[in-house]
Point group: C2
Chain length 771, copies 2
């Protein structure tokens, strides 16, 4: 059973010919035929064909008995079941992570006396003694200094709190990096570059395994709580994909087919973003635009389902106590004005520049880490960066708190009840205080103070994020990027607001900003800035705007967001086409064929194929004149992943392609029992339909047509490379043979294509490392 399924993959093309010369050895368990090695590229066409075979088998069996019919129905529904499970688990994990981060972030500052597992907010909400106005202060919540010395105020208490804050941060990050180092090295980073590569058809065993899931979840909480400048959004996508992979193993439909598995993973990525931002539609579009490679309509529907289930699971856990999915959900009610597009576009330019700066600096630093001594001390590095972050962050109230809280405050419009420093406006004493629609007012000293602190926080975040992203702990970069943009946006917003208030007779303000009107919403600027900076780093557009649109809950602000996102993309693209994920993929040398890169050079297949001019001739097998010994020598002497089979070396007419892995397995199996079959080293290997009947005394022929792919993909040597690139992309090929007038000339692998593309872009072709 097992073997039949595995073998039919590589030889599904042949099964249909009804050839009867099935070798008996193929009937026995032989599990590895048709699978892939680690760090190799899959062949999408072959996977698809294997799945169709499987499907056909189930359909024909389903007519035999009721039980088989039920099994076939279960099989048909397994996709939706997997989606449901992914949604439930990733929603739950996201909720747990949110709650844990909340608690541990507050633990750095103090503890709840009534129940130590309460976060600051929960502690004070459950206390009945507080009024609405100072819900942040309640007797049950005590800072460490207060608890240990009894003094809540004073320099001594401040220093003690400061010291303990840094200590907790160091402890959390040390735990995080150690867990990653010891148990799951793949749990580090954001994971999105690797997931993009995996989805494009690459095998990285263990990257989406159970251990990675467990350790990533735990260390993500630790890393975020330690106060480092990183977010949980990217890692949540990784966590959701691990869930997807986990549930794939429940169904052989997905666990045994790398192509089908990737459909599930695409949907899981959508669920991850859905819970990270509370944006199910945005999540689906993120998966479509940013991470997925092969995204058929069926996957679109399923992704949507998974994203919805995940969002609703998270909502029922309600980690933020506001029945919203994210901390920074906002609802604005004031309109925006045409003239405001100028500052919005300027924010877009800022976002593009930040994106370029971040990508260049971060990649340079990561390359340094890879190539110098620095990379050998990941624990020390994390400890050092955490120490610096904590020491510098504590004195500034905007960097001391968690980044999502910061973003939430920056996005918020100043209501009448807002007590934050950013809302310290001078109120007109003649005016009653309506809840909504407060007119623009002059800024008070608190706002100016906040502006200074925000400016310092901006510089701090910009610098520290560059060094943080890429360390050996889970680290997302959506939240830090959004924070940078939100700070810049809020500063610009307040500046525009004050300018409009003090100079409402200027011609640019005259038309839309009467005195006493609420014309500028600084929170909207923060949101536009956040979108611009996120766009500059990741180069998302549609999904970014949709995520932001789901955060604001209104179509009104699509134009500002779109203007900023598109400007930011254009500015950043002017300096370099690659976003942060593509840059990291390149840095790691993964074989990723970007859908977005247009290949516009005038090269032909003949320029790319191997063997090159001075190379030894192409290693081929002949259909009826190669001996077992020849095959063994060929396998030993070369490291190609497969060999073309030709009619004869003279005519060079192609008849098929055989995978190295299958060939090795077949030969080693024969070697193991050569005696009983009469096959010896001098036996001839036959790839033809019929092998000659030889007298028993002669070495018996070895018939291997079963492992021969009779429909290898070919192009002519005159085919332009743009077409070849297109074919590799769209069909997800692993290799392609090059012919001229029916003669085999050479072979082009995905690696060759990528190396050629790198060369054409004046990059080092040796940077593409894997097959």
């Amino acid at each position: 059973m097992e073997i039949n399924e595995a073998v039919s993959g590589s030889s599904s093309f042949h099964v249909m010919n009804g050839a009867g010369n099935l070798m008996d050895f193929l009937d026995e368990p032989f599990p590895d035929v048709g699978t892939y090695e680690d760090f190799h590229t899959i062949d999408w066409l072959r996977e698809k064909s294997r799945d169709t075979d499987r499907h056909r088998k189930i359909t024909s069996k389903s007519k035999e008995s009721i039980w088989e019919l039920i099994k076939s129905l279960l099989d048909a529904w397994s996709g939706w079941v997997v989606m449901l499970l992914i949604g439930l688990l990733s929603g739950t994990l996201a909720g747990v992570i949110d709650l844990a981060v909340d608690w541990m972030t507050d633990l750095k500052e103090g503890v709840c006396l009534s129940a130590f597992w309460y976060s600051h907010e929960q502690c004070c909400w459950t206390s009945n003694e507080t009024t609405f106005d100072d819900r942040d202060k309640c007797p049950q919540w005590q800072k460490w200094a207060e608890l240990m010395t009894g003094h809540a105020e004073g320099a001594g208490a401040y220093v003690l709190n400061y010291f303990l804050y840094v200590l907790w941060a160091l402890l959390f990050s040390f735990l995080a990096v150690s867990l990653v180092r010891v148990f799951a090295p793949y749990a580090c980073g954001s994971g999105i570059p690797e997931i993009k590569t995996i989805l494009s058809g690459f095998i990285i065993r263990g990257y989406l395994g159970k251990w990675t899931l467990l350790i990533k979840t735990v260390t993500l909480v630790l890393a975020v709580s330690s106060g480092l400048s990183l977010g949980k959004e990217g890692p949540l996508v990784h966590v959701a994909c691990c869930c997807g992979n986990l549930f794939c193993s429940l169904f052989s439909k997905y666990s045994k087919n790398e192509g089908k598995r990737r459909e599930v993973l695409s949907a899981a990525a959508a669920a991850g973003v859905s819970v990270a931002f509370g944006a199910p539609i945005g999540g689906v579009l993120f998966s479509l635009e940013e991470v997925s490679y092969y995204f058929p309509l069926k996957t679109l529907w399923r992704s949507f389902f998974a994203a919805l289930v995940a969002a609703f699971t998270l909502r029922s856990i309600n980690p933020f106590g506001n029945s919203r999915l994210v901390l920074f959900y906002v609802e604005y009610h004031t309109p925006w004005y045409m003239a405001e597009l100028v500052p919005f576009i300027l924010l877009g330019v800022f976002g593009g520049l930040w994106g370029t700066l971040f990508i260049r600096a971060n990649i340079a630093w990561c390359r340094r880490r890879k190539t110098t001594q620095l990379g050998k001390y990941p624990v020390l590095e994390v400890i050092a960066v955490t120490g610096i972050t904590a020491v510098l962050a504590y004195p500034n109230p905007y960097t001391r708190r968690s980044t999502s809280e910061l973003i939430s405050e920056l996005f918020n419009d100043c209501g009448a009840l807002e007590s934050s420093q950013l809302c310290d406006y001078i109120n007109n004493p003649n005016m009653s205080r309506p809840v909504d629609d407060i007119p623009d007012r002059p800024a008070g000293p608190g706002v100016y103070n906040a502006l200074w602190q925000l400016a310092l926080a901006l510089i701090f975040k910009i610098v520290i994020t560059i060094f943080t992203f890429g360390m050996k702990i889970p680290s997302g970069l959506f939240i830090p990027s959004m924070a940078v943009g939100a700070i810049a946006g809020r500063i610009v917003g307040i500046a525009v607001e004050q300018m409009a208030y003090h100079h409402h007779d200027w011609i640019i303000f005259k038309n839309w900003c009467r005195p006493g009107a609420d014309c500028v919403t600084p929170g909207l600027y923060a949101m536009v800035g956040a979108a611009a900076c996120l766009g500059g780093v990741t180069r998302m557009t549609v999904s970014l705007v949709v995520i932001m649109f789901e955060l604001t809950g209104g179509l009104e602000y699509i134009v500002p967001l779109m203007a900023a996102a598109v400007t930011s993309k254009w500015v950043a693209d002017a300096f370099g086409k690659e976003g942060i994920y593509e840059s990291h993929i390149q840095l790691n040398g993964y074989p990723y064929l970007d859908v977005r890169d247009e290949f516009t050079h005038r090269t032909l297949a003949t320029d790319v194929m191997r063997p090159r001019r001075n190379d030894p001739p192409l290693a081929v097998l002949t259909q009826d004149s190669t001996t077992v010994e020849d095959v063994e020598t060929l396998i030993k002497d070369t490291d190609y992943n497969g060999f073309p089979v030709v009619v004869s070396r003279e005519s060079e007419r192609l008849i098929g392609f055989v995978q190295r892995r299958d060939l090795t397995l077949a030969i080693s199996m024969f070697n193991a029992r050569q005696k009983q079959d009469g096959v010896v080293s001098s036996s001839v290997v036959y790839f033809t339909e019929d092998a000659p009947q030889l007298p028993a005394s002669n070495p018996q022929p070895l018939k291997l047509r079963r492992i021969l792919n009779l429909s290898p993909f070919t192009v002519t040597d005159h085919t332009p490379m743009e077409t070849v690139v297109d074919i590799f992309r769209k069909l997800g090929l692993r290799q392609c043979l090059v012919t001229r007038s029916g003669r085999l000339l050479g072979i082009i692998t995905k690696k060759d294509v990528l190396r050629h593309m790198a060369q054409m872009m004046n990059q080092d072709p040796e940077s593409i490392m894997f097959n």
Copy 2:
């Protein structure tokens, strides 16, 4: 210039070889080489390759001078400019259509005395004499009977109004069908099946032309105003695509490349749905899910831009006076309960059944129209259906008004100020009337009356829509489908509401419906029903839910909508996989290769290729032994679209493929001036790189390598058809050659693939009519 661009398409593969034997005749204008004939399939790979050539040329030229640099920048930006123009024009047209329909629908009932170009609503809004409560009645608006006889009430007035209503309806529909017949036969129908086919790579000249645009816009207004059971949403997509095609002609990048043109059209379709439903994101997803074939990321971004511009243009025109994009925008505030999922899923089942019934009945009727005498009298048919519709519709208030108004009323929640019959509930006299959050109340006589009328309207709509869709006038089916669903949903909603009110102690209601609470929102049921019916007919899922979500403006109702949409799709799919658009495509025999059909049969390329076993051998050309006369005979005797070129008839080794169109043009051009070139009928046609130098007395050779495609697509005869289908789909091929061990065996065209698929599904393969 012109010729170079045109020719380089078909021979782009060759240009790169640096072959110097450019024929001088190719330097002169020869505009048709490389284009397609009407009702033929395009070759996506070839179009893409032509565009890359063009792009390369512009890039290399841009380094020569400032002017060329500016031209290249303009070229790079032309995509966005086209999107902006499409957005502006389609938004404007949608606004104008909305205003005109509004006015003309009301014209059937009466006229505004203060200004005849005002619709009923505008007439009464501008009048100062009305109070808020009876804004429908104002002295300026007079029904026809009142205007003509002075009597507003009474049987005489009713009959006169009835008569004039029918008369106006007949006039409008007669005008519509006549305009379509005389000026633009392509303006009829919804257009979406044809647009799907065109986007998949088919040529229908004039289908998206200027005349079609103009006539479709005008006749759409007439058709909708005539009161027929049709909507404007599908035709709006057609109108937007016509706009897209119009603006394509401004830029040679798009007008000369059928592939690039289709990218613009995909975005235009998104803009069309965006204005039809006021749902920009839904529009993009509709284009992606429902109509587009090739949808790269670049198109995603551009579609989004076009959809946004269109939506904002429409919003600034503000045709409904409510600063919303559609008449039936709603905002609900009450939550839904788990138990309500049962009626929602039942509505989904109803939607699926309605979809199946509608598709079967409508296709049967359309087939009858095609095959019998019926099809010869389209004007009479339209007049008859309009007459029946108007006569039956007038007595029932729910069918008399326009369908969008009906949907709008059905979607609406009964507020305190609502005066409609559907909101005639018995109020609790002890209760003050809050504006929001009215508890469930017992239904009054008006509601029961409305239920009867709605039931009749439901039956009427179901029957009449089947006969309306497919007549020779513009007719969308979104609105009638939604109306059917909304009526059914509202009826179910009221039933559930009354049951919950009268039996709130039943166990199913106990948990969530206390007396005095507002637990059931009948309007939400109407919306869920509308989604279910629309989903049953079109088989949309994600885009449908997103459109509905943009109409309700809240994530809260995604689960009910999703449940209904998915149920409806499953139920309808159980009876037949094809939606209404695919069924119409099939009915018309267009060569459409659906991305969603999975090909699971065990056939091989060899079973599908031509020549079949008993056919004459494949018509081929040889590279250096065919004479001009042979070629002419071959062209005359066969009607193939192209011919493979082989080394020799004996070896059958393939070297290239030549298009019939290009060959005919080349030969006819040589014939026109054979004397001066020394080429006569017995001249040998050379496809090789070099032709032999013959003495001047011999017939001069004819070198045609320029028109030879040196990289034809090949598969082996063992390739399973599922792979071949996949290749045709993903690469957008027109034909593919079949080889075995380098020998040419046959050819598979898109038509062959489609016919084979039809045969495998037990359909008539002859139904696929075009190449």
